[in-house]
């Protein structure tokens, strides 16, 4: 599983990174690297069953009451 994830991410990196490196587009490379490593971290966390807070939960905390209020208001 972990090997699979790493392999997948290597393929993703291989798609673009070498070309960016050659063209010396560091900015692109940096942004891509950040997204890439975030993805890798999250995926590995998934593989290791780490408790990562769900963004849906955070949204629910803020917007659950809003929705409730709206529902009461109109529905």
């Amino acid at each position: 599983m972990i090997a699979l994830i790493i392999l997948a991410f290597l393929v993703i990196a291989y798609l673009d990174a070498p070309a960016l490196w050659q063209k010396k587009e560091w900015r692109e490379l940096a942004v891509m690297g950040i997204v890439w490593s975030l993805g890798l971290a999250l995926s590995l966390g998934l593989a290791f069953h780490l408790p990562v807070p769900s963004p849906a939960k955070m949204l629910a905390r803020f917007f659950g009451p809003v929705t409730l209020w709206l529902t009461r208001l109109i529905g």
Partner: protein
């Protein structure tokens, strides 16, 4: 950043259909009948009318800033820092939206079609193909849509036509049983799907004559209301409001009851095929928009390198988003309306107001 390539107004409006319909026809009818019972179709129409407001906002903004994407004119309107922050909010919102879509897609397939298959497999595979499409740019996505749209329409027609023997017109009565409030509540549920018209503010910048964006918005919204209304209506007519609430994937069940004579039964696999194609477009479009937005905010020359990592991150996020399908349904009922209203309705409205007050416009991009 800009992309070379333009799409026609018709392609823009059809893309809009695909940005909303695929997941909506599957998940919406059940949730909607929960709230609005047999008047759900009315809720769809009301929600369409409501979605007309952000559509108008998008149109006005597009007139002010032709050829600029949402992410670009955020910065033009609000200035450098605030603009970037707001644009980033949009990027994140689209990103989360895509994660939800991916999760909905894979949950459905796991539930209804191939229960032994882990949902991550569906998520990974569809995103892989979507990444391939998104990397090739908007034109390619639009052309794929051109190809799939007739199939989708034909399939809607086939299903609804063949389901007519099962329909009973009495099921939509009584009209407005509990007054208008449940219907309004229903349109609130519809909003998370309907509000995605905002996506036209991003790729709308590439519509060829920018003025015809209005046409795209109108036909797009009308088409969505038409098809979504038809499917909702079909579900209510076939199953009745009581039963529809208990069917998780009511649209799919509609395809399952269809039978024409003895030979054309069980065509839900075809439904599945068309639906997968639809969701594929939706995911590809969202990925494209997210990558484009992120590239704009961070000032990159190219969005392409971002697509694949974003797709991977999206899959991982989709896996983290919810623990089970009930959470998705719960989220769609109790959280998404507020959240989507905020970023799909209020935020663009604020943008327009600020632009109006500061008198900003760009012509001749």
């Amino acid at each position: 950043m800009r992309e070379e390539g333009y799409i026609s107004p018709r392609q823009a409006s059809v893309l809009l259909w695909f940005a909303i319909l695929p997941t909506a026809i599957l998940f919406l009818p059940a949730l909607l009948t929960l709230r609005a019972r047999q008047d759900s179709w009315l809720a769809v129409i009301l929600a369409t009318l409501a979605a007309g407001i952000p559509a108008l906002v998008i149109y006005l903004l597009a007139l002010r800033f032709p050829h600029y994407t949402l992410f670009q004119y955020c910065e033009l309107i609000l200035g450098h820092l605030a603009g970037k922050i707001v644009a980033m909010v949009f990027v994140l919102a689209f990103f989360l939206l895509n994660a939800v879509v991916i999760r909905e897609f894979s949950e459905f397939l796991t539930t209804a079609v191939m229960p032994e298959t882990p949902f991550l497999f569906f998520a990974c595979s569809i995103v892989a193909v979507a990444v391939y499409a998104a990397r090739n740019g908007l034109e390619v996505i639009a052309r794929c849509t051109d190809f799939i749209m007739p199939l989708l329409v034909a399939f809607f027609v086939v299903i609804l036509l063949f389901a007519t023997p099962e329909m009973s017109l009495r099921n939509i009565l009584p009209f407005l049983e509990n007054g208008i409030r449940p219907v309004l509540g229903g349109s609130l549920i519809t909003w998370p799907f309907m509000g995605q018209v905002i996506i036209l503010a991003t790729y709308g910048a590439f519509v060829n004559p920018p003025r015809s964006l209005g046409w795209s918005l109108i036909t797009g919204l009308l088409g969505i209301a038409f098809f979504l209304g038809l499917v909702t209506m079909g579900v209510i007519l076939v199953f009745g409001a009581c039963e529809a609430t208990s069917l998780t994937f009511a649209g799919y069940n509609l395809a399952r009851v269809v039978s024409l004579g003895q030979f054309l039964e069980r065509i839900e696999v075809l439904f599945l095929a068309i639906w997968v194609a639809g969701v594929f477009i939706k995911i590809a479009l969202n990925l494209y928009v997210v990558a484009l937005g992120l590239a704009t905010v961070t000032g990159l020359k190219e969005y392409r390198p971002l697509v694949a990592p974003l797709g991977a991150l999206n899959v991982a996020l989709a896996a983290y988003m919810y623990r089970n399908i009930s959470e998705i349904r719960q989220d769609l009922l109790t959280v998404e309306p507020g959240w989507t209203l905020t970023w799909q309705f209020i935020l663009p409205l604020l943008l327009l107001l600020v632009a109006w007050v500061r008198g900003q416009r760009r012509t001749g991009a």
